[in-house]
Amino acid sequence: MQPSPNPSRANIAGWLYVSPLIAVLLPFFVAPILVVLAASFFATDGFGGLTPGFTLASYVEVLHSTLTLKLYLATIKFTALTWIFTLIIGFFVAYFLVFHVRNQLLAIGLFLLCTVPFWTSNIIRMISWIPLLGKEGLINQALLGMGVIRQPLEVLLFSDLAVVIAYVHQLTIFMIVPIFNSMARIDKKLIEAAIDAGASRFDIMRLIVVPMSKSGIALGTIFVVSIVMGDFFVVKVMSGGGSASVVSAFYEDIGVLQYPTAAASAVLLTLVLVAIVSLILRTVDIRQEITR
């Protein structure tokens, strides 16, 4: 950050540069959020018509139903499982690329290899599990062929397991990239110094690598948690309709034109998400982390 000779001129220039960004975010982020907030207080005629007013009926309905608790528990379960698996895989993949691959060009190549699927369709990557996990899929065929099982396993596809597999498949990249970035900034001399001082491999991991990757882990966590909590199509397709999450219930509500209930549920979810994200942000200055 360069000091500016004239602060008010710098302010005007700054705002001019970001004004196109604001011109998009105000109508397509701020306004829609406010509309959903407003709709959550409106009454409905049950046919998609909204009556402007102020009632807390939708919130009472959402908070009183035992379904809400179940949905949140399911969502938290999916989020926690996905978070743990993406963190473990992402951390060690990044660690391997940064500390074990000695040829820098090869490391970048392997890193790109991990990122390419991110730029392809999520839905396609999700349905690509069907030929593998299905009742007559490859995994069942292989297990039957080896004589491990007699009946094809039905829990592989259209189950909670399939949902978690699809999430981990899609989201591990969101852990790899930020953790890779923070690990790449660790000075290798630091680790050599630690070895010279007699640190074991475990000590190096515990005292240097993990603490110094914390900001990457925090960033990855924000991505993974917000995407899983905001998702509905993976849950809907991969569970075969057997499981639901907060947003997939929201989707059903929209389908039957229950806008105020859906909006109230969305507002609650957003509050939960904001709480989680700001809790994570307290441990890391994300802006300084990204701009540096």
Binding site: M1, S4, G14, W15, Y17, V18, P20, L21, V24, P27, F28, F29, P32, I33, V35, V36, I89, F92, V93, F96, L110, L113, C114, V116, P117, W119, T120, S121, I123, I124, R125, I127, S128, I130, P131, G137, L138, H169, K188, E192, A197, G198, R201, I204, L207, I208, P211, M212, S226, G230, D231, F233, V237, V247, I254, A266, V277, I286, R287, I290
Partner: protein
């Protein structure tokens, strides 16, 4: 970061000759374990995708699982000619057009925002967090809000108005974050030299910054195009009566149970791969050109 160093206990122990430094000496056993994990990860990443590409080339008897039943292009022809699979051609067309528009806007707006965020200005943190909010907000909720907003204003939702805006609320934060990374590697000396030589602000942007930052701008374009082309949750309530390609795929997953679905997956992935390859290729080309110029 320096706080971490202070926290480290001052252990004094005799230096060891064992190769525990991953960057030196013989390979420690962890190398082989982690290499295995990495290989498995890449296999799990690409394996399933390649299964559906292979299965999409079955003939008319084909099903959704292995073994392959014959080889033909039947399901690709089926995809673009059959009515029951929906308007694939039209949605394909719309998605490409929309992605091009989104890419152009994303590159320009992210570049300008990247310039703006280089210096602190009053209220910059608020703008920054607004952007982060737009990134992490559940797409379906934003989409519904945008849809209701258009309804309330009496506007018709369509792919080139409401869906365009909804997608930008997703691609722009990514674009600006990539710009941050790009800008942090930009040496201010170039720009100052341009000013010293009498360049105007616009000249320094056009003749110095854009050429120097070109690879980063290509990366922003790659994010803009692919994120828009595959965007689903935010488009669902905002695309109006005409579908984009991911919406078409979504409706197919719910009611088409033939390899047509896989054929569509193959086609859309080929488009993605072309875009990724062209972007990465042009970045490499730009870098190579620079290398040869400095050498010569």
């Amino acid at each position: 970061m320096s706080a971490v160093l202070v926290d480290m206990p001052e252990t004094v122990a005799p230096a060891t000759t064992k190769a525990i430094a991953p960057s030196k000496g013989g390979r420690p056993w962890t190398f082989y374990v982690l290499a295995m994990l990495f290989a498995l990860y890449v296999l799990a990443l690409y394996g399933p995708m390649f299964c559906i590409y292979i299965l999409s080339f079955q003939d008319i008897r084909g099903g959704l699982v292995f073994p392959m039943k014959g080889q033909s292009m039947h399901w690709f022809v089926d995809l673009f000619t059959q009515v029951r699979t929906g308007d694939v051609k039209g949605s394909f067309d719309r998605s490409i057009k929309l992605a091009v528009i989104v890419t152009i806007i994303t590159v320009v707006v992210s570049f300008l925002a990247g310039l703006g965020f280089r210096k602190r200005f009053r209220g910059d943190t608020a703008v920054f967090y607004m952007m982060i909010g737009s990134l992490v907000a559940p797409g379906l909720v934003l989409g519904l809000g945008t849809g209701l907003l258009f309804q309330a204003l009496g506007l018709n939702a369509s792919w080139y108005t409401s869906a365009l805006g909804a997608q930008l609320s997703w691609t722009l934060p990514f674009g600006v974050l990539v710009m941050f990374a790009v800008m942090s590697r930009f040496d201010h000396v170039w720009e100052e030299a341009a000013y010293d030589l009498g360049a105007s602000r616009w000249q320094s942007i056009r003749l110095v910054m854009i050429p120097v930052l070109a690879p980063g701008l290509v990366a922003v374009a790659l994010f803009g195009f692919t994120l828009s082309y595959d965007e689903f949750a935010r488009s669902l309530q905002t695309a109006g009566s005409l579908n984009t390609l991911p919406l078409e795929i979504w409706s197919m997953t719910l009611n088409v149970t033939s390899p047509s679905l896989y054929a569509l997956g193959t086609v859309t992935t080929i488009v993605s791969f072309i875009v990724i390859g062209a972007s990465l290729g042009s970045i490499v080309l730009i870098q190579k050109k620079r290398g040869s110029r400095t050498k010569g």
